[in-house]
């Protein structure tokens, strides 16, 4: 019996900014259809790590493979192919400001799918309806709320039916109700499409609710502090710093 290849594999990964390492010793092995949360104090390198494992930035050392492609040795073309099988939601949603929500979702489809315009339009409409934005399709990003922008960002990330999705602080700046709805949406995507989801978050209740695994980044040592199911961090025995972080975050 052959072992199933992981969707994400990181071995002794080192990430950083402008030649300065921020986080080292990152070892992750994540199988398909799981939700991985990256947590840690502000500025510890969560988003940097996500950009590297998502193939947007180069690692400083170590190895990172996504969807079976070793991103540390991949050519630009191979990297682009992997990116097309991934979907990203950025912190500020990063919707193209001059395009309507429908056009935002249509953009990757128009570029990469061999479909006539009316079919692309139908697909875009469906993706926007999935995230509850059927009524706002023809609005510009400047005309919608932060929560709607996040959902539109998810719809665009879903445009090409990605195998893996990266969500950078999806709940940041949202009220608890909207945040809860977003959690439900993430779970629905995982369950319906079998998409692997990697998210950066500070929202401990949300992580406990949706994540299968959690990476805790230790800003004091600049290394990966722990990698385990998030419920394990509720017990003080195994991962002291991660437990303290979870406890403080839950109280606050």
């Amino acid at each position: 019996m052959t072992a199933v290849a992981p969707v994400l594999l990181c071995e002794d990964l080192v990430v950083g900014h402008a030649g300065h390492p921020v986080m080292s010793g990152v070892n992750i092995r994540l199988s398909a259809g799981k939700i991985l949360a990256i947590v840690g104090p502000s500025g510890c390198g969560k988003s940097t790590l996500m950009r590297v494992i998502g193939g947007l930035d180069e690692p400083m050392a170590g190895r990172s493979a996504l969807l079976g492609t070793d991103l540390t040795t991949a050519t630009a073309l191979e990297r682009e192919k992997v990116l097309r099988r991934s979907g990203f939601l950025f912190q500020g949603s990063a919707l193209f400001s001059s395009l309507t929500l429908r056009e935002n979702v249509e953009l990757p489809m128009r570029e990469f799918l061999p479909l006539p315009p009316h079919e692309v339009a139908q697909l875009a409409e469906y993706k926007l309806a999935l995230v509850g934005l059927a009524d706002a399709m023809d609005k510009l990003p400047s005309e919608i709320s932060g929560g709607m922008a996040k959902r539109a960002g998810i719809a665009r990330a879903l445009a090409l039916d990605p195998s893996v999705m990266f969500l950078d602080e999806p709940s940041a700046g949202l009220d608890p109700v909207t945040s809860g709805k977003l959690d439900e949406l993430v779970l629905k995507i995982k369950e319906s499409f079998g998409t692997t989801i990697i998210l950066v978050s500070h929202e401990v209740p949300s992580i406990l609710r949706i994540a299968d695994f959690c990476v805790y980044l230790d800003s004091d040592t600049g290394t990966m502090g722990a990698y385990a199911p998030p419920k394990d961090f509720l017990s003080p025995t195994a991962y002291a710093k991660a437990h303290a972080f979870f406890t403080l975050a839950r109280i606050s």
């Binding site: 682009e80 990203f88 953009l107």
Partner: protein, 364 residues
């Protein structure tokens, strides 16, 4: 306590038997009063508060600033609240990492490294643009053609009024200066030759290139810089779309096509401007036009045309490059726009000088 009863903040130092310095603070410390200055030596300091009245953030700030680099600073004799406020700042500084003063040599080294990175980024962008153009020619690039048509309008057609105004005034000024000089030798008829040749070979292209830098480069730098800030360029990359091909190629192509056309327009408007001055002086319209037609050779026209293509490319590239490397802040976008104009104009002037040498070498 009333305002009148407040005592001025004070601090005195005393050298103790073990060589350490005792610093005693007293009085009422508020951010509205000027703070005392002290001089001390050594790396062991003990702080004490005698007759200390009320204090706000001025006292912990004073202690923090004066003693943060002292190796051994004993705060134990201070009131607990004051001690806690000083220690809180120290802890935050420690967690933020050491902030040692940098030497001139270190600053020079940092400048050298930053400059190298900056040049490397510029050459990388030139390379990416070249590859983007090659892939566009081969039909493999993903180019936003709607941006291309939009830029033909905004960088080209919309620039006509300003190009006309500046071209007209350039021709007018050249004719005016030329008339003053040529009148002294009785050769005012040659003012037409001067204006038409200068506009065709040099000023038409140069003025249009400079206008493109001021108008289009800054606009591109702001657009792409803002897209950087809002992570729109990251979003493109995450979709497997090369931002240079998608955003920069159509813009550069549009401007490289439009600047030569604008330069031709500026040339004719400039010659017309010269004619107004010349005919208001000593020349008739027929004389001016005859001399102008005689002066403009196809070779001169070609020189101006080639230059304008290069200047258009440079202006557009400078804007796209500075926008793509803009810092992710409002200040960064502003800086990108400014540096795009400066870079564009500098490169255009350098290119013009190189063209002058090359055309002179080949007697063109």
């Amino acid at each position: 306590m009333s305002q009148n009863s407040a005592r001025a903040p004070s601090a005195r130092t005393e050298v103790l038997g073990d060589g350490s310095t005792l610093v005693v603070v007293a009085g009422d410390w508020t951010i509205h009063d000027s703070l005392p200055t002290i001089a001390f030596k050594g790396d062991k300091v003990k702080l004490r508060a005698d007759d200390l009245g009320s204090f706000d953030s001025s006292l912990p700030a004073w202690i923090y600033v004066h003693f943060k680099n002292v190796r051994q600073c004993d705060l134990s004799a201070l009131p607990p609240r004051l001690q806690a406020l000083v220690e809180m700042a120290e802890k935050a500084t420690l967690s933020a990492g050491p902030n040692a003063p940098t030497s001139v040599l270190e600053n020079f080294g940092t400048w050298g490294i930053d400059s190298t990175h900056s040049w490397a980024r510029a050459f990388d962008h030139i390379g990416q643009t070249a590859v983007g153009f090659a892939r566009t020619c081969l039909g493999r690039a993903r180019v936003n053609w709607s941006d291309f048509t939009l830029q033909l309008q905004t960088a080209g057609v919309d620039a006509l009024p300003i190009v006309a105004l500046l071209g007209f005034l350039t021709g007018l000024i050249m004719a005016y200066v030329g008339l003053i000089q040529l009148r002294q030798v009785g050769a005012t008829v040659y003012v037409a030759n001067l204006v038409s040749l200068a506009m065709t070979r040099e000023m038409g292209a140069l003025m249009t290139g400079v206008i493109a830098c001021g108008r289009t480069s800054t606009s591109f730098a702001s657009q792409l810089g803002s897209m950087n800030v809002s992570q729109e360029t990251d979003a493109l990359r995450s979709l497997g779309i090369n931002p240079v091909e998608y955003l920069a190629v159509p813009r550069i192509l549009a401007v490289t096509l439009m600047v030569p056309l604008l330069a031709i327009f500026a040339t004719f408007v400039g010659i017309f401007g010269g004619m107004i001055v010349a005919c208001a002086g000593d020349l008739s319209i027929e004389q001016y036009l005859t001399q102008a037609i005689l002066a403009i050779k196809f070779k001169s026209f070609l020189v101006g045309f080639i230059k304008s293509i290069a200047f258009g490319f440079i202006a557009a590239w400078a804007g796209c490059y500075r926008g793509s490397v803009a810092q992710r802040s409002a200040l960064g976008v502003g800086d990108a726009a400014t540096s795009a104009a400066v870079l564009g104009i500098t490169l255009i002037v350098i290119a013009d000088a190189l063209f002058a040498v090359i055309f002179n070498l080949y007697d063109f």
